[in-house]
């Protein structure tokens, strides 16, 4: 197809992903990261926090699109119809993105994947972001706040430079705790070192996390200890991002206790952290269980159950 700004392909349905030719409205450093902002009204309208976009990169030798969490959408005001992503440069595709100029065109598919489910009750929410993983949490915080929920944050990174936008973090949440591994900002250590304390202080009833897989695992395990429901947005290598290639799978335990390979791009990227079979990510897979899931599991905890909080998933 010829490419012109504003071109959009897809179904009119409100939850259908589209392909948009967007115009670059901003491309700038954001601490250690980069922010890319582009026009994509139909995509912005349909997006929810936790979802992601697939951006085509016109990089020599690179074939596939690159997935990025949606960091913010603007539906009103002067920036209406824009979508932001925040990214870290780590290879040719992200490198190419840094070379985009204002008014360049980007070819984007989205919104893709599952959004963070919002609690059905007005409970305090603890949002835990690692590195650029904080970006979609700012977006989530905005939505939770709008719904009248209290938001607290833990933002961690290796170093001070890799803490994404600390000012935004403070604005978006009631409290924010920073952790850095080298101690250059906030508490020295990892997000899990302050999790229990923060959850207690803030009376957090639910946890949302986004960041590197080892962090998501540690957070999920800590939440299991604390009997806190937790939703995590995972990252898996994706070829298609739209559910057709089965490259992005991870083992997720169903309510029947059986582990099945789920597509991070379609069944996720947001999963119940307690359900991910973290130990089995690399397991040799035997014959799968029945494909249909069993009945609703019993929740023994005195805390809010997943069901009560998120509704039927």
């Amino acid at each position: 197809m010829s490419r012109r700004a504003g071109q959009v392909e897809g179904r009119p349905d409100a939850d259908a992903p589209v392909r948009v030719i967007g115009e670059v409205l901003a491309r700038r450093r954001e601490g250690a990261y980069w922010l890319l902002s582009f026009s994509a009204p139909e995509l912005a309208d349909r997006a929810r926090p936790g979802q992601f976009v697939e951006i085509a990169v016109e990089q020599k030798y690179s074939l596939l699109r690159r997935p990025f969490s949606i960091a913010r959408v603007s539906r009103q005001g002067p920036a209406a119809g824009t979508v932001d992503v925040v990214f870290d440069v780590g290879g040719p595709g992200t490198e190419w993105l840094t070379q985009l100029a204002l008014h360049d065109l980007v070819d984007v598919v989205g919104p893709l994947g599952t959004p963070f489910p919002l609690p059905k009750r007005r409970v305090p929410c603890l949002l835990i972001g690692g590195g650029y993983g904080a970006a979609p949490l700012f977006y989530l915080a905005e939505e939770l706040t709008r719904e009248g929920l209290r938001v607290d944050m833990i933002i961690g990174a290796a170093t001070r430079e890799r803490i994404l936008n600390p000012i935004e973090a403070k604005r978006a949440s009631a409290t924010v705790t920073f952790t850095t591994e080298d101690g250059s900002h906030g508490v020295q250590g990892r997000v899990t070192d302050v999790l229990a304390q923060t959850a207690e202080t803030c009376r957090s009833a639910v946890v949302y996390a986004c960041g590197p897989m080892p962090m998501l695992r540690a957070v999920s395990e800590a939440c299991a200890e604390l009997e806190l429901p937790v939703q995590v947005a995972v990252e898996e290598h994706m070829a298609c991002g739209v559910g057709v290639c089965f490259t992005c799978v991870l083992p997720v335990r169903g309510k029947d206790g059986e582990v099945r390979m789920r597509r991070a791009c379609l069944d996720g990227p947001v999963f119940n952290g307690a359900r991910i079979a973290w130990d089995e990510t690399r397991f040799e897979l035997g014959p799968p269980p029945d494909v249909e899931e069993d009945e609703v599991e019993d929740e023994a905890s005195g805390r809010l159950t997943d069901d009560e909080l998120w509704g039927e998933q």
Binding site: S2, D104, H237, G286
Partner: protein
Amino acid sequence: MSADVRRIDAASASAHGDAATEAADVDLTADLGRLTLPNPITTASGCFASGAEIDRFYDVTDLGAITVKSLTLEPRQGLPTPRMAETPAGMLNAIGLQNPGVDGWLERDLPWLQGKGAKVIASIAGNTPEEFRDVARRLRRATGVVAVEVNLSCPNVEHRGLVFACDPKASAEVITAVAREVDVPVFAKLTSDVTDIVAVAQACIEAGASGLTLINTLLGMSIDPETGRTRLFNGYGGLSGPAIRPVAVRNVHQVHTALPDVPIIGTGGVRTIEDVIEMVRAGASLVAVGTATFVDPFTARDLVRELRTWLAARGHTSVAELRGSVLAW
């Protein structure tokens, strides 16, 4: 880059004004012997899941047919991750045939396709001729299934795990077992990783295949230079995408030249309308889009549209007239 990215649209009517046909008059029918499809674009097995995923983007019955992910007798979870690695203009995959099993598919996925009125090419896989046969048997009277594609790139457990498609005899055995079971045309899907593809193709046709699908992925490998770790859990994987197109075109041409009457489903690196025409000229009657769908979910649908315009602009009245039309120097 500047904002005025323009495209060299070979299909633009202006360049071919003289000979132009009306787009609506172009006959896109794909003639595959006993099977006729409304247009010559389908999907490559394993690159379109069950169909519903892409139907979120467009009506998948716009395609000539939908070829679904290979079905095995039992459900399979597939291989551990990582399952893919990007390579120059291509990718490697090692999925391990994750699929709901033929029964699960008949129960849950096929009804959706039937409801849409889609024409379905069911790809089947197995580790022994008997497994292939059993899968085929279950597909026998499935409404909507217009053809069975036999994925012969499966390890033959009775023969040191060598894939069936490497050996004319083993391939023929599978085809014989399958062809007996089904009423619809059977396509044997072959690999290019053999010394003599024509010999394998011939053996499959003699064993009862109505047609051939060419080609499956090329066996490849990628290693992380830093860590030395293979980029796929499985070590080796299948190379697909634009990178392999010249190899696919050669295989299609080679087999079409040797077996001109046999319908061929051409697959391997097809992405643009020019690639479709190239495949058809090489000898394909139906063209399957695989990896390109990963790059752009709209690819297959767009190719159907562009095919009509491309042919019309050049005064062609049907796509069939281009099949096998190659000029040597």
